[in-house]
Symmetry: C2
Subunit: 568 residues, 2 copies
Amino acid sequence: MRMSKLYLPTLKEDPAEAEVISHKLMLRAGMMRKHSSGIYSYLPLGYRVIKKIEKITRKHMDNSEAQEVLLPIMQTSEIWKDSKRWDKFGPLMIKFNDRKSREYCLGPTHEEVVTDLVRDEVRSYKDLPLNLYQIQTKVRDEIRPRFGVMRGREFIMKDAYSLDTDYQGLDQSYQAMYDAYERIFAECGLEAVAVEADTGAMGGKDSHEFMVLADSGEDEIAFCSHCDYAANVERATSKKTDIDFEVEAELEKIHTPEIKTISELEEYLEVPAAKMIKAVAMVADGEAVLALVSGEDELNEIKLTNYLQANELRAAEEEEFAELFNSVAGFIGPVNLNNVRIVADQRLKNMSGAVVGANEKDYHLKQVKAGRDFEVEAFTDLRSVRGGERCPKCDQGKLNIKDGIEVGHIFKLGTKYSENMGANYLDENGKAQPIVMGSYGIGITRLVAAAIEQNNDQYGIKWPKAIAPYQIIILPLGNDDQVQEKSEEIYQNLKAQGWEVLIDDRSERAGVKFNDSELIGIPLRLTIGSRSLENGVVEAMIRENNKKLEIELDNLEKEVEKLFADIS
Amino acid sequence: MRMSKLYLPTLKEDPAEAEVISHKLMLRAGMMRKHSSGIYSYLPLGYRVIKKIEKITRKHMDNSEAQEVLLPIMQTSEIWKDSKRWDKFGPLMIKFNDRKSREYCLGPTHEEVVTDLVRDEVRSYKDLPLNLYQIQTKVRDEIRPRFGVMRGREFIMKDAYSLDTDYQGLDQSYQAMYDAYERIFAECGLEAVAVEADTGAMGGKDSHEFMVLADSGEDEIAFCSHCDYAANVERATSKKTDIDFEVEAELEKIHTPEIKTISELEEYLEVPAAKMIKAVAMVADGEAVLALVSGEDELNEIKLTNYLQANELRAAEEEEFAELFNSVAGFIGPVNLNNVRIVADQRLKNMSGAVVGANEKDYHLKQVKAGRDFEVEAFTDLRSVRGGERCPKCDQGKLNIKDGIEVGHIFKLGTKYSENMGANYLDENGKAQPIVMGSYGIGITRLVAAAIEQNNDQYGIKWPKAIAPYQIIILPLGNDDQVQEKSEEIYQNLKAQGWEVLIDDRSERAGVKFNDSELIGIPLRLTIGSRSLENGVVEAMIRENNKKLEIELDNLEKEVEKLFADIS
């Protein structure tokens, strides 16, 4: 492709709208443009990368005996009501009526469509197992779209759905997808790790996320330093022991003027945070819930959501402290709190002698004891692990926490959807049984961003060769006829051999050409100038490590092949 | 692929929901399933055909120097308001608000997105020409979705947008797309003809549709028997002469009890239809319009819409005859009709002595003369041509009318969008000029249906080989070990040579296998039975013509190659 003809609007400066490096570089390298918040147009260079990732994904899905289909974006409300998720997705799901006032949504995922598709048609155990996949646009109206395609509202996903007669079959289908995912990310040139994950709105049993480690990742992952334990902090646990509350004394009310936070209390009372109770006022589907964790811990909202089986969980607003809790922000506590569910972290199960808010402005209570002064609905795991804690699996290593980008997520759904939606098959005895399902997603557009997060430097992108938009870029320097002719000859020869080649035939300064070639991150650059031609050589640069070397013109094609083979 | 594993739910009976053959066969051959009115899930076999058509389309677009992009489905209202089409599309466009109450639509087409994309970025004449294309899902909330994917609500289109500095450039870009379209349809194995077309809601100058002739086509096309004139009846003209109204006399009111239609009047008054005026009450964007055509002609609503530059045109409802026209259904006419625009077909320009409704129940007027008894706003072409009329181009041939399916549509848009949306470039003199645009669409999913309409028989589909989901199907008959082994061997060998092969390894009766293979329309079938194996032969059937022949086992691969080369 000639760069003079390619629609490639590169930018010299970082766009103000972009925070993370992949977002900046995708805009600067002319890969995409923003249409609206979280919605992008992919330009030729960007869409080439997407198509390459799709092709690699298809290959490994087909090799795993998954079959490609294409399911609708616009979906009827009926199937979502059948599965009982019509309300569960909340404002994340875009809903609208058609001209005949029938309710539809834009598919945020396709479990319902697949289950609906097979429920009338997969009749016998002989029709199973099946794995149907698609590469399709999804729409999720994120509350805070950000980081470019990392958290967009309209994005491309590869999603697959396995259908089995039993859980043993599901385990096999799940493993096949797990293996395929490892191959897909490896072939794309990405370092991705599988971690235990929360199942969230999908429901179901086991779940793994595939994470690309990167500082800009929105997820935190806990890794054991000793064994293979790895889990999203959303669900990670550790060998943190119960807190030893030795004190036991009478309840005491103390005046704490304007003392609202744990750290202010620590200073004022000279009591360590570990001896205090952090009481967090939450609203779960409109209902008041008080969550208690140790003063030194953080509430894990995902764990609380799962315990409550809530659709929507959020912190209480200022005015709700009075309305829903009959309390005061900064001074809330579990004692004398009526009509409010109280749930505590399991570390607090011997809670006594603790400091809590008095539900009255400028007052706290000391020597508080659960069971005596208030009742707790349950003690369960509600805290987030922290780096340095002991591994829950091997009990030897310590947990390290790293940031990661979720590029894949696989779920053992079980029979949740097939039971709700009546997707049964007849077993060998002619008895109706619910189909056992799994669901498997890869964020194709997000993967582009993750690849850039892992592969860039101050000059721009360093594409892994398997997903680079072009493999080779030729830079003719100057207007010398011989340079132009030789460059054209090399361009045509390499193209004829099947290489994907860009030639920068624009009438731009050498500096602009060098900068653009590095910005757009083509793995191998060949620079052709009059001086090097005189010496019968061409300068090659490997973008991966920015190493330059001279290759002989007479041997150019063989040298290119050799160099390219060594690039990762 | 093994049919025992393929998700291919074929149906023996025609589904009740399908009217036309392509719709019936796409359902019966397990290519797709209905999700909701006009919305389909494409199953593995159907999606393979779609992908083949997409691949052929991409090849010819790339060869024409068009560059592939991917533009959003969810589009902001702002750009549609800029182009002044936000209201023009009416209920065909699905609109909704996001969680922050911003207005969006689902893109029925992408002129606005492309114009918005380039308006800030294509700055110089040096950046042009450009042609950007995509293969993307479109959503149009059709009032009457029907015929399966022929008129769906969610469908796949290839759309391209050319950007030039001037009309000469546009002519070249348009011709390049015209040529590419001919190659695409030819390579898909379709007979398609280009016809002059109406520009409709796109606006602009020239326009051609590519039509696949088929009885189930929703469009009517007029062809000249002598020259190359071909036009959609929506815009076709003919050498129809003015009507000779020789009579001129006093206006006369006559009693015509319950006589409402032209044919009833013909009988009652013993006057030929050609001497009567057909007055059609229409409502254009809420305004009353009376359209007059000869009693023997039909009003062409597209031509009237274009004349009025209306967004929405429809026939008046029963109650609107009184409300908007102060008249009576069945007895409406142009005389004494106040506050109503009256437009007449050009054939009526000497109108006199005509019969029209009296705007009073059970009465008509005779001897009516335009200019004396009422005023006409304009005489213009408002009628539809009929078969047998003389060609407007060569004036020698006669027009034949055939049904067709529109599979492609190309438009010279000119500067309509760039002017409304401010997409300018700087010319060689540094002066801002609007970009000159063209737009080019192919209905990918509709093309699947059109291919079936052109290629089927009573047994099922007869795929053109370029878009067949598989090229070869192997039918092992019976449980004979030798048959199974030999079939497997042939299957593996043909696959290894790069053929796309299906093997019907299901434990079904021979009849079921034969029927399914014909239903799904694989171009070449190889039947392997124990008797033929003994003779060292295999039965081949060419689905195109259902011819059967024996080919020697020893020479099978060469024979397959030869047979396939001859298939169209």
